[in-house]
Amino acid sequence: MRRLLVANRGEIAVRIIRAARDLGISTVAVHSTADAEALHVRLADTAVEIGPPQAAKSYLVVDAILAAAKETGADAVHPGYGFLAERADFAAAVADAGLAFVGPEAAVIERMGDKVAAREVARAAGVPTVPGTEGGIEDVGAAVAAAGEVGYPVMLKAAAGGGGRGIRVVDDEAALRTAFPQASREAAAAFGDGRMYLERFVRRARHVEVQVLGDGGDVVHLYERECSLQRRRQKMVEEAVAPGIDAGTREAMTAAAVALCREVGYRSAGTVEFLVDVDALGRNPGGGASRGWFFIEMNTRIQVEHPTTEMVTGVDLVAEQLRIAAGEPLRLRQDAITARGHALEFRVVAEDPDRDFLPAPGAIDRVVLPAGPWVRCDTWIEPGMRVPPFYDSLLAKVIVWGEDRETALRRSRRALAEFAVDGVPTTAGLFRELLDEPWFTAGKFHTGTLEQWLVDRSEAGP
């Protein structure tokens, strides 16, 4: 690999260019007309304009990107995250053009991107998935039998439905006997099909994901990240490693992630997402085999929150992706990878937390980025720039390491106090408030906690 085209923008394009440069690989940036002055364009050795501001007419146009690669003599393409990163047709087109795609093969992207196919891979690899019925159930007797196997509480979903309609949660058999006929009648009325799916309901779930690297044969894990602090399914804060996950569960979960990736011959960096039942974890501490955690899906790309893993393991994940894409075998042996201390990442976005997170593009006058020991800021913003309205609102990721979680939290307060942007509202102040919340500092939260806190906060008023 001599010349890498980065098919992305913003902080991740900057991040990838840095990794390439560290390895002595020259870089090609692509950009829309809105990003002509952007940092990633100036940092790259070469830049090619690929279209107007709208992503659908620039960053998502496969032919324009391949033409830019050809024109500049690039021999590899890194898709970053978002845009074309998990589009199997893009990976295939890159390979067909004779270039190295920095990611897994198109067939693997397709297979792991399909929820049903990915669940089948998980089952074949012996990885637990959320227990539930395979097909639709028609009568209450069958429902009671199925619930007995799945385990309460169970969720009833219309087999023909979608979008959360007609979903009911029941805690025991008596409740199921009442709810099933009702739910089934409603489903029949709404969808013309009264069959129901039954699935274990996890009342308080955490989202924990395992980072993996594979070279098509060998697979290693780089421990897990905690990603439960979300608003409308968008992550806001991530941590490595996950607080409150005991050694037994960690060992079982990371082994499951590796088994899953071996099953598909995974190549490149990837993330295996698990749902962790907070209550099951509490009931059975240390019970790695308690099955209080379930495979949800796999992300076949580098992720926004990858720096937290880099901070605790000392591994440059993007550089490893590039080496693997260049055909090198994995350099890392599992027993040489350790997770030391604790890292947090705060996603500072151009949104106004006091106006229901209204996106706020605009001109930036002043920028103060935190630095100092064990503070990293991955960003693309500069004073005097305009944040365009066409792309996501991520301005900067403030990433902080400490020898333990307590230290990392203290350092996070310091780093976020330094952070300043004038011109557009950001979420930096919200994170300073969050760092004073006992439930957060104690690591006692699940995927619903942050959203509830935001509701309470907005009801309490300024």
């Binding site: 107007p52 501001p53 709208q54 659908a56 151009a350 949104e351 209204l358 996106p359 593009p361 309205p389 066409f390 792309y391 996501d392 609102s393």
Partner: protein
């Protein structure tokens, strides 16, 4: 009869349809209510509905589907009923 300009409150990309496979929110010549959505503006990957703002008839749209609009830019004209 007075004319009312429908203004985009935010900068972004302008859409006449809720999704590519659906019909337009309102065609030129159509009668609309004040709170009826006449277009979408996408800003930072989130979609904002823009209401007509006055009951009446859509005279014309001033921008094309998928055009870039600024905050405060007029996107349509309504003849107020």
């Amino acid at each position: 009869m007075s004319r009312h300009e429908v203004v985009s409150p935010i900068p972004g990309v302008f859409y006449r349809r809720p999704d590519p496979d659906s019909p337009a929110f309102a065609e030129e010549g159509a009668a609309v209510e004040a709170d009826q959505t006449v277009c979408l503006v996408e800003v930072m990957k989130s979609f904002h509905q823009v209401p007509a703002g006055a009951a009446g008839t859509v005279v014309e749209f001033l921008v094309e589907n998928e055009d870039v609009v600024d905050a405060g830019q007029a996107v349509a004209v309504i003849e107020v009923a």
